[in-house]
């Protein structure tokens, strides 16, 4: 299962944080247009950073430990990383705000 190492940890991140949306009521996934826009804008500088880093040899990806599909020179998992981590951060931030909103309305 070596090639799934990266993908597996991304899936785990989502599984852990999705309850924040559906159980705790964070409203992130239910604002898909705003989410898509924020993700896209944020991805640009970080994908550029990643491409520069790979080009300049700062880091590389172990052969056989990714699925093997690349997009724009980066493993597809790396691009998914730039979706998953921001989604997790947003879910966390919004879930923290739910508590505050609820106690304010009590």
């Amino acid at each position: 299962m070596e090639p799934l190492r990266y993908l597996a940890v991304l899936v785990a991140c989502l599984l852990v944080t999705l309850p924040l949306e559906f159980v705790l009521g964070a409203r992130v996934l239910r604002r898909p247009r705003r989410l898509a826009l924020v993700l896209l804008v944020t991805m640009i500088p970080f994908v550029v950073w990643d491409l520069v880093a790979v080009a300049r040899g700062h880091w590389s990806f172990a052969p056989g430990r990714t699925v093997g599909l690349t997009v724009a020179g980066l493993p597809v998992e790396e691009l998914l990383f730039f979706v998953v981590v921001p989604v997790c951060a947003l879910l966390t931030y919004e879930a923290l705000g739910v508590g505050r909103r609820r106690s304010r309305d009590r």
Partner: protein, 105 residues
Amino acid sequence: MIGEYTLLAIAAPVAVVVLELAVLRTGLLREGRYWAAVAITLAFQIPVDGWLTYAQAPVVLYHPAAISGVRSPFDIPVEDFGFGYALVTAVLLGWRWRPRRDRDA
């Protein structure tokens, strides 16, 4: 000679903070909620990044010249926390930013 990734991992958080303070001015950095979210996400970065950089079977390999060589906790290059902080803050800034007229949306 400081590694390039080390430099970028310092510059990126600074750049994002300057972006907020000087340009976007969302007030995000004054929120307790923001700092709590940062603490939580950086805490989760430890198992996630730890997995990706685990010395026995790393997914990501770093060139020694590009990094400081400080790896903690586990085998995580400390630079990754600078990257992570910048990414999380950038996303939250984007989420919080509203054009003036939409402020209460």
